[in-house]
């Protein structure tokens, strides 16, 4: 395995779009060549070396290449976009669109993530150890089908529209979510261990949502089917008792999804 270490050196007054930062692009290149790859800042294309110091050469292939970003890159967008293999480790927070449309490999973010991480992803994994914002693992705007495979794990909280249009794969959130988690999903699994503020599973036509905490505002279009305990979806275990609902009956589409809501935390439902 070859490690390429990128250390942010500055000039982030305006945000940078760095879709070149993927193991696929770094493989087979020397540190010097990597530094010459171009990134966007506003309408200008500038070499990566203007923003990062580069240490280490890329591996022979994407699988053999690990990129370590040693610092905060919350103003750098599109890291790991379209990656197919290899690994990216970010020792800080990341900007928007991290790992969007990725199909393989692994991204680990030790800090927080901005919106749109893992948009339309088809495979691989993203692990965000901090908090995340909106549209994580969701569909491109206007599209009905979003993420189709892979796994996103968020240890902290996320905000709105998590997993919108999810068709496959799993999203696991350790903390809480706010609005429209799992909107329009038609497949896959979303497991929120904490609370959800409102509109969970809005307009869902398939797939599964599990809420371990409390839903403050439950949607009117869901019907209770029964109680199940200790759920298991492949390797994902959801301990405890859950009320099982189907919905969303607010929309006329035929397919309906399943929502499990913790019994202990939602006595009033």
């Amino acid at each position: 395995m070859a490690d390429v270490i990128l250390k942010p050196t500055g000039n982030f007054d305006l945000t940078v779009e760095a879709e070149v930062i993927t193991p696929d692009n770094f493989a087979g290149k020397s540190a010097d060549e990597i530094g010459k790859l171009l990134v966007w800042q506003g309408p200008e294309e500038l070499p990566l070396a203007n923003f990062f110091s580069v240490e280490g050469n890329g591996g022979n292939s994407a699988e053999d290449t690990t990129i370590i970003i040693d610092g905060d890159v919350s103003r750098v967008k599109r890291i790991g976009q379209e990656m197919t293999a290899g690994k990216i480790l970010v020792k800080g927070s990341v900007g928007m669109h991290t790992g969007s449309t990725m199909s393989g490999g692994e991204i680990v973010v030790e800090g927080d993530s901005e919106s749109w991480a893992g948009m339309d992803m088809t495979g691989g994994s993203i692990h965000i150890k901090g908090n995340a914002k909106d549209h994580i693992g969701s569909a491109y705007r206007g599209s009905w089908e979003g993420m189709t495979g892979g796994r996103i794990t968020i240890d902290g909280d996320a905000v709105s529209q998590i997993g919108g249009g999810l068709s496959g794969g799993e999203i696991i959130i350790g903390g809480s979510v706010k609005h429209f988690c799992g909107i329009r999903i038609n497949g896959g699994l979303i497991y929120v261990k904490g609370n959800a503020f409102r509109t969970v599973g809005a307009e869902m036509t398939g797939g599964t949502i599990v809420i371990g905490g409390c839903i403050e505002r439950f949607l009117p279009g869901f019907t209770m089917e029964g109680v199940e305990s200790d759920l298991k979806f492949n390797d994902i275990e959801c301990p405890g008792e859950y009320k099982k609902f189907t919905g969303d009956y607010a929309i006329p589409q035929k397919g309906k999804g399943t929502m499990y809501v913790s019994c202990d935390n939602n006595e009033c439902l």
Binding site: S115, W116, K133, D134, H135, V159, S160, Q161, H179
Partner: protein, 129 residues
């Protein structure tokens, strides 16, 4: 007091804004006003002026009070204007549009001076320039 802030147009706000009168006393009198119900007004101690403070307590704006039956308890209204937007939450939930309706705010009695639109922009936004 914690409250949900609603902002929106009033006919005189529209008349003064469209008539280019944003730097007049009339505009300040129409817009630098916090509407609330009698119950909330009483619980605040019937203040002449209140400070409306953003949820993160970063921004605060002094306004006169207006008691009206149009409001329910726990809800306040400020006519759409520079004063209201000082405390509107800037987060847009990835839609581009801030929370003009339903921003959580704090409302407290105050003796601060009510700034005019011009004073507000020079003191608060331009750093006294």
């Amino acid at each position: 007091m914690e409250a949900l802030l609603n902002t929106g147009s009033t006919i005189d706000e529209g008349r003064l804004a469209k008539g280019g009168s944003k730097y007049t006393d009339d505009y300040t009198k129409e817009c630098a006003v916090c509407w609330m119900c009698a119950e909330d007004f009483t619980s605040l101690g019937c203040p002449e002026k209140v400070a409306v403070i953003s949820r993160d307590r970063k921004y605060s704006v002094a306004l006169s009070t207006k008691v009206t039956e149009a409001m329910r308890s726990g809800q306040v209204f400020i006519p759409r204007s520079i004063w209201a937007n000082v405390v509107v939450e800037p987060d847009t939930f990835s839609t581009g549009s801030p929370r003009y309706k339903g921003s959580p705010v704090f409302v407290e009695p105050t003796d601060d001076v009510i700034l005019s639109a011009e004073e507000l922009v020079t003191k608060m936004y331009m750093g006294g320039k």
